[in-house]
Amino acid sequence: MTAETSTRSVIVEREFPHPPEKLWRALTESSLIEQWLMKNDFQPVKGQVFSLRSTPVPNWDGVINCKVVALEAHKTLSYTWGTMGSESVVTWTLTPTESGTHVRVEQAGFRPDQEANFKGAQYGWKKFLGSLERVVGEMK
């Protein structure tokens, strides 16, 4: 283990053949957000507290607590992502392109100890976890 104190992020990017205005609606209108992310009471107001609600499963109520920290119409939207005592920040950036919009989402603020250091362990964990997850997924 290193003494690293910086945090880590996840970045996912994709280009969509749609204009930024339309992307913005999908990212900021509650009924549209529900269709691709989760049930929510989002409002596009800086400082607004909202929650995302996934299907509850054993040991988790399915709630993610969020707060809008920044927004600039058709360009950028940022909110906190808090679950069970841990918080990260999700930031959306829209950039117009010739054929649509480049969308970048960054989820930042993971501490190094939140990245499991066991990737590549020789036990075939992923396979095992895969089947375990299937099983747990079928639990009532």
């Binding site: 996912v12 999908a26 399915g62 066991f118 997924g137």
Partner: protein, 133 residues
């Protein structure tokens, strides 16, 4: 390799980690986990508890392919790794799975990456539908 999850469970997995990372002293806990799950019989017992719910040692022995003392031994190893908990009920001991103990093994950064990829796919569908409205 990318593992696909039922969405509810993936959200759950993403979350339990945050809670447990603070509880589990990573190196020791992970060692116990690796050791406990390296054995296929133990893994099968654990999966069965996860799939079918809590059971007695006796019930677990049926179909385990090993003797009851061996099943008990495996359960002790799972308990040391905090993968199961037990309680006595009369003369029987009931065991229950604690799947949340797997949290240290999960690559959270990777899962969030898969999570957003998945959400992007759904976002794409929503954008297509918006055209038709």
């Amino acid at each position: 390799m990318r593992v696909l999850f039922p969405s509810g469970l993936r959200d759950f997995l993403l979350t339990i980690h945050n809670r447990l990372v603070m509880v589990l002293v990573m190196p020791n806990a992970a060692d116990n986990l690796f050791r406990a799950l390296a054995d296929p019989t133990r893994r099968a017992i654990f999966e069965r508890l996860t799939r079918d719910g809590g059971q007695t040692v006796h019930a677990l022995t049926v179909g385990a392919g090993v003797s009851q003392p061996m099943v008990s031994k495996h359960l002790s190893a799972l308990k040391r790794a905090r993968l199961v908990r037990n309680r006595r009920k009369g003369r029987e001991t009931h065991y229950q799975a604690r799947p949340e103990a797997l949290a240290p093994l999960v690559d959270w950064i990777g899962h969030y990456s898969a999570f957003w990829q998945d959400k992007f796919d759904q976002l794409e569908n929503v954008l297509e539908r918006m055209d038709k409205e």
